[in-house]
Subunit: 334 residues, 2 copies
């Protein structure tokens, strides 16, 4: 059998565990040239919240009664193409919240094989979608230069913590924004950020004035809404705003979260840009290799917060928005 967590009702506002149910169906059959993956870990990414809405986001919404879409990693336990999908090999892909996933021969977005010497969970963090999101967002969109000031919100999150470290490697001064002293201490003391603003206990505007007196060259935004507005007021001439996520708005109805300060984008000749790693999938190899090298050299540190049990995936998603964790939230399936 295949245990799965399905969507039974769409969240209105905050996502709750009552939106989901655990069900069992027969194990999926594999198609020609495909394979069956036994899912071992799930990455609890903020983007899942968008998939629970009828309209979805850059991907369509999950239908009621369907398994919840999610990144995951697992092991090939059955294959119709032992060359592409060797038995026992680890793969990362959009497994969904379930024990078994049938990979199609031409799966898109493509699955990625995880090198035998890697820690499979890394594929859900530094060397997976999380790392790739940080990589393409910093390298291609934000493009921080040596000596520039780089600010990242949700700095202690999976993407935020890696984005800041990549910007550091490029020579930028890196300032995080995070909630609470523990998160701030982690990114400064352990990840090497130059500073971190605790938005729960500090005046963000005043601290940004101190920490970025010449303005903010790159803002890597994972939060959106009011915090984005605050930062826009200090964007530098020719600054870049990486629209990576707007977690502050995910639980709120569309049309409810205003941004007032676009005039600073215009006046400062700044650039605000969305992006998606799917558009760069032909460069996953290059990016994953670079991230792996940085991780191996200890230049990038990932951290996972693991919850045990597939049935805890809904709880993990609720906690993601509560923000009481450091690093990447992961669910261990078995």
């Amino acid at each position: 059998m295949n245990r799965r967590v399905i969507l039974v009702r769409r969240p209105e506002g905050k996502v709750t565990e009552s939106c989901f149910e655990v069900t069992e169906t027969p194990r999926p059959e594999i198609g020609a040239g495909g394979a069956l993956l036994e899912v071992r870990y799930l990455g609890i990414d903020p983007t899942i919240r968008g998939w629970l809405n009828e309209g979805g986001n850059y991907m369509p919404g999950v239908a009621i009664g369907e398994v919840v879409r999610s990144n995951g990693v697992g092991v090939v336990v059955e294959t119709d193409d032992a060359k592409q999908f060797p038995l026992g090999a680890w793969f990362m892909g959009l497994t969904g919240w379930q024990q078994y996933w049938a990979i199609a021969a031409d799966e898109f977005p493509p699955v990625t094989m995880i090198a035998a010497e890697s820690e499979p969970m890394d594929a859900l963090n530094v060397q997976g979608q999380v790392g790739l999101t940080a990589y393409f967002g910093v390298v291609d969109v934000g493009q921080p230069q040596a000596g520039e000031t780089f600010v990242v919100s949700a700095a202690a999150s999976g993407v935020g913590s890696i984005a800041g470290q990549i910007a550091k490697l490029r020579g930028a001064r890196v300032v995080g924004i995070a909630g609470g002293p523990a998160k701030c201490a982690w990114v400064v003391d352990e990840l090497g950020f130059d500073a971190c603003i605790d938005y729960k206990n500090e005046d963000v505007t005043a601290r940004l004035r101190e920490l970025a007196p010449q303005g903010i060259d790159v803002f890597f935004d994972n939060v959106g809404g009011a915090l984005l507005d605050t930062v826009l007021r200090r964007i530098a001439v020719n600054g870049r705003i990486v629209l990576c996520g707007d977690i502050s708005t995910y639980d709120i109805a569309e049309g409810a979260v205003p941004v007032y300060n676009l005039k600073y984008v215009m006046g400062r000749r700044a650039r605000m840009q969305g992006f998606n790693t799917f558009d760069s999938w032909d460069r996953y190899g290059e990016a994953t290799e670079q991230l792996g090298a940085w991780a191996a050299e200890g230049k990038i540190t990932g951290r996972e917060h693991v919850l045990d049990g597939l049935e805890r995936a809904p709880e993990a998603l609720v906690r993601l928005f509560a923000g009481d964790h450091l690093g990447k939230l992961v669910v261990k399936v078995t």
Copy 2:
């Protein structure tokens, strides 16, 4: 003597003629290597409104009691460097609302000499800041490709009308948005736009759905606020939003005009960018030459609405925001 229009009080909300006064001072003295320009025409640009606020915009605000900053063209009537500033030559620059302007030897932004064979008023429209704004905004920022859908707001304005024509020359399908049937008829029948939405009498959302069923590849925005929000919902994947102006917000206090739909910029991997021709002044020559060639070949048409008399500059600025004119508003000084 030098008649001048000075700022006597800052507008609160809508700009009114009572914000200005006509005064006389002695003719300015020219500095070493400089020249005296007798101003003949003033370009009434929306950006002037930003200069009336204490904080200014990309340039500082005009001080109370100072002459109103403005583009203008005029003739050299006195010179300390006959090579750089020949007597009788026409120049364009930030003359201000006054009869005489002393050009410094190293004036910045630089003044531009107007070719003897040109119509001087063109330097305030197609071949001046207006044309340059449209040119750099379309060519560098919007980058419409052949077959793409290009939408421009304030389509019957100076910048809007030229931007649409440049996009047409690059092979895009061009849709204007303007207020009233006369403006729409002008841009479609005389300038060759593919279509125009009359936002005063039509449902912009429904018309955009009809006219851009695959989404909007480039939005050249002169208006901001609610219209920007409406267009963002239909931005195409990898679309570009040129933040040229937000005339709908100029008369309204900062922090009062929300934009709700940035999530479409993020989700559609779009790019929203401010720009300023001053940043490209080293390419003014190239751009002006191209604009002049297009104008000479009849490929770009400019239109000016001229008011007679320096003392009518305030009236012209008020009318600019009322929007009851076609093309570029110009004041004839003498």
